[in-house]
Amino acid sequence: MKLLNHAKAGTLESGDVFITVTPGEELLIHLDSPVKEQFGDAIMDLVQKVLEEQEVTSGTIELSDQGALDCTIRARLITALERASKGDVS
């Protein structure tokens, strides 16, 4: 999957995660989370796994986590990546 445009998905509501995706030459992941100390590594592993599944090898991924479950992080990341790959500017 090739990222063509900046895109976002999710919200800043409790239990959700707000994700922005920006095309770029290298892969950069930024995580902001109130539970980063406890679950930061697990969240980063999940993000890496989804990126591999979606065959995304470059771009900037920024996550503002509000205590989201794994299934929510996965869903929001997939949505953001798909929007970016379709060229939707949002």
């Binding site: 239990g15 479950l69 299934c71 929510t72 949505t79």
Partner: protein
């Protein structure tokens, strides 16, 4: 047998999490009215992800897809059925052709996903005058149809009448659906009571429907909002005793099954 079907907006992760613990008998993940047009893709992906990874226990998992005339309906099916959706709630059902088309889509998706053919059920949401008139015919289009459900808010809009707390404007439709469902041998679910903060109104409306409208059905089931679950179950518990005392079983060999149905309902 379901007493309560809880609506959950499909793009709200915190409400989906609530579905794990709230004591409803079934969960309806909504991809239609509660989701903005520009968020349809996000809601679809979120619901599919939740269905495939969270354990909702014994709750039946239902998804209200978008209208068949929309560009989202097929994508909804392709996402949620492989993820574990057990029943599809079809909005604004009016035409047999829509049910047949959906039936075909489900056949294809079930086959591609290794799901037993025919295992995904349909609940037809009747919320237009035409739908009410054709309810019996619609219920018999496909073997997948297991229930009719009334959507009174959109029905009132279609009829051009005011939706009142007393609900007299939907009395005919409520009764008509019970007869149609009974004749077609499918279940019937009552309309949601949409004012989530009017517990007294919800209680009175539920008792009214239970006593005067839906007594033709073997058990009373209702689509609800979060605050109404325990209230609805309380009404059901009282009625369970009433049924056991007053409703004779037609055939002796049905006695065991009938008592079980009331107890579980």
């Amino acid at each position: 047998m379901k007493r309560s079907l809880l609506f959950i907006p499909g793009n709200r992760p915190n409400m989906i999490q609530n579905g794990l613990v709230l004591p409803a008998d079934a969960l309806i993940f909504d991809l239609e009215d509660s989701v903005l047009e520009e968020e349809k893709d996000a809601a679809r992906t979120l619901v599919a992800s939740a269905l495939s990874s969270l354990d909702f226990g014994l709750k039946e998992l239902v998804v209200r897809i978008n209208e068949m005339s929309s560009p989202h309906a097929l994508k909804d099916i392709e996402a949620v059925v492989p993820a574990g959706c057990e029943s599809i709630l079809l909005p604004k059902t009016e035409h047999s052709d829509d049910i047949l088309k959906l039936d075909g889509w489900l056949d294809t998706v079930e086959q591609a996903s290794g799901i037993p053919p025919g295992s995904t059920s349909l609940i037809l949401l009747i919320e237009t005058a035409l739908g009410v008139e054709k309810a019996f015919e619609l219920a018999r289009v496909s073997k997948r149809v297991k229930a009719l459900a009334l959507g009174a808010e959109d029905l009132a809009a279609d009829l051009g009448c005011e939706r009142t707390g007393e609900g007299t404007e939907i009395l005919y439709s409520r009764t008509r659906l019970v007869i149609a469902a009974r004749a077609a041998d499918v279940e019937v679910f009552d309309t949601p009571f949409t004012d989530a903060y009017d517990e007294q109104g919800c209680f009175l409306d539920t008792v009214f429907a239970r006593n005067w409208v839906l007594t033709a059905s073997s058990a009373y089931r209702r689509i609800i909002w979060r605050r109404s679950i325990r209230l609805l179950h309380r009404v059901k518990k009282r009625w369970k005793t009433h049924l056991r005392c007053n409703r004779p079983c037609k055939k002796p060999n049905e006695k065991g099954e009938a008592l079980w149905r009331f107890a579980a309902a």
